[in-house]
Symmetry: C2
Subunit: 396 residues, 2 copies
């Protein structure tokens, strides 16, 4: 086990009607001028935005707002938000929505104190970020979509609309939300597609931590396996009955701890599937979780041939694969079991064609991937351009 | 799943040599005058105390100290500490040790701002605490014994030497440590007895959360089961080889998350085994974890007859009990499997006699228990005086 720091300071307030507490939570965490950030019309239509504003007003908190954040959040929206913020001078940001809204708010939070264009903090030049953020506006979250886990992480992913580069930043010490209000009732109306995409995203967040060559990380492995078992059980319940509050609650909390480092403990992680997917959603604007359902089984199939150990363990402990004594065969069976589960139980696409991309430009994706990440993607397996191309092709 | 708040703000800094960071961690968390609190001679003999002092000096931090905290920490030591603190006026407390040292520091932290004797905050009168704390000195921890989980909790348990009442307080919002330095190397010299007692304590912390009648808490159940599997695997490694760093590391982290509410999520917990053990260790001054190894299997045996559901699930998923279709029988098999494991693998006592108490005064223990906790202990099972007496007798 490697040395590590675990720091998850967010106050998670979870359960029915908890959004009514947002005013007092803002006060408790020192807010007096709040900028609300949200996405499309659903938070407006559902009345959630009005309830949040009422709670702020009741707490005597001044606020402004910006709506219109899109899925796969973009640089131009961050700049629009920063312009409003520099005018209004908030002391606290309050994203109301899912990962795209939260990630936009985080980009603003750290960009607010940066002299220059915020994109410098995201841009990679010669394998390094062009600039580093040292300070951020504090933020709280009202979560409406369980998927990205951004409510508990210090991460943010933004797409540059000019260069089509989709890339993340990670500041666990300054970008973790102060609080996150999480009411599973707010997720009851999510369509199946969005529910399932969220499930595939949170499972990927766990697997990218699980797939590690660091030895003797049993506590992290067992936590990860437990999360995956709970997620799969409850995801199947939700596909059958989207109105199942208990299943919504289990899924919502799972998404958070899938990404707050609960199962990262002391290991080298592998985020290469995420990087490979980012190229797909940046180019074709597909839903991130759906892209992961396509890439992840392909990644595991490749892994079954080149580094089967953890994939076989996953098969045995989570995916119902009997231990045959042949690690590579069991790993392949595990990879295919996950692919089948994504397709049959979660109704997710598992190929480019099912994702709606009939003729993907794999050369372009692969070229951009290695331009961003270097010649060899290090991780559970070292992937050169030939390897990542093989994985992309396994997803055809 | 019930509504809940999850708040674990402690910055955990884990791994080899991490105690060298204690000076900068104190500075980062706002300390300028620190009171060090520690126990017996081992932190002195090992040189740890000197290393901590050097780190504070290097960071320019003034400090005073109090040693001599005993296992099963007592009220008189808290008062001694408060006297020193009121003279020195620290702005930060730094316990260096295990649960007893940390719990003593927490009692001082909240007692420091209370006008009156700190015991008022612990004492139960008519089923309620005599007084409530609202503010506490911040504290950081250098942990040397993985067991109590106090480094990540807002709890403290103290024994009153006059009345022999052993009782806890719980202030998750003000008593959780700001940071916890956790170096598994510091635990390598723990004798088998202390290692095993710690393992039994952390397993009890998980099981008291796991044993719940709240339905649909799959994510918490799976996390708890995963922790237990990892703990049992690594505990067996440590009994065989106390110098196994990797096993020490897995056990150390498990003890922390066993008690920071990771697996409490949205459920009613059951702390009656802990309460029953507190009467034993308050009267006979036995090691808390060893007392739990005696009480817990007895509690589960009683439970197998009166509410088998979760105990059978534990048997199936953690203790290697095959599903026979007979829930009560499987629960009893699980209870006995845990008892056998405690005895055979962990070398723990599982009866009063093995604990060194040949003729326990069960009437006295039971009378004190119900005087403190009321006629019926509510929880996974409702336990009146006849029920708790039956459990005490099962431990003979």
């Amino acid at each position: 086990m490697n040395n590590f720091t675990f720091y998850s300071p967010t106050e998670f307030v979870f359960g029915r009607s908890t959004e009514s507490l947002v005013g007092e939570l803002c006060l408790k965490h020192g807010a007096s001028r709040v900028m609300i950030i949200y996405g499309g019309g659903s938070v407006v239509r559902s009345g959630l935005l009005d309830r949040v504003k009422s709670a702020l007003t009741a707490a005597g908190i001044a606020f402004t707002e910006m709506g219109g954040v899109q899925p796969n959040p973009i640089d131009t929206k961050v700049r629009e938000g920063l312009e409003i913020a520099r005018e209004f001078k908030p002391d606290f940001l309050l994203p109301v929505g899912g990962g795209s809204v939260i990630d936009t708010a985080k980009a603003m939070a750290v960009g607010y104190y940066y002299d220059g264009d915020f994109w410098d903090l995201y841009e990679v030049v010669d394998g390094k970020k062009k600039a580093t953020g040292t300070r951020a506006l504090p933020l709280g979250v009202v979560l409406t979509i369980p998927a990205a886990g951004s409510e508990g992480s210090g991460n943010s992913v933004i797409t540059n609309t000019t260069t089509k580069v989709k890339v993340g930043i990670r500041y666990p010490m300054i970008l973790r939300p102060k609080f996150a209000v999480m009411n599973p009732e707010l997720t009851m109306t999510l369509p199946e597609w969005q529910t399932a995409s969220g499930v595939s995203d949170m499972m990927a967040h766990i697997l990218e931590r699980y797939l590690s060559n660091t030895p003797d990380v049993q506590i992290g492995d067992r936590l990860a396996e437990g999360m995956l078992l709970a997620i799969m059980e409850n995801a199947e319940k939700l596909i059958a009955d989207p109105q199942n509050y208990e299943a919504r609650a289990n899924i919502m909390w799972s998404a958070t701890i899938a990404h707050n480092d609960t199962c990262s403990i002391g290991r080298v992680e592998d985020w290469n599937s995420h990087a490979m997917e980012h190229e797909i959603s940046a180019e074709y604007d597909v839903t991130h979780g759906a892209g992961l359902a396509v890439i992840f089984p392909a990644f595991l199939q490749y892994g079954a041939k080149h580094n089967p150990h953890k994939i076989a363990q996953l098969g045995h402990r989570v995916l119902g694969v009997a231990n045959s004594g042949d690690e590579a065969a069991d790993a392949m069976a595990g990879a295919l079991a996950l692919k089948t589960w994504f397709h049959d139980k979660l109704h997710m696409p598992v190929t480019f064609a099912q994702l709606g991309i009939e003729n993907p430009n794999l050369e372009l994706l692969n070229e951009r991937l290695h331009k961003l990440k270097g010649d060899v993607l290090k991780g559970y397996m070292d992937l050169d351009a030939a390897a990542t191309m093989e994985i992309y092709k396994l997803a055809l």
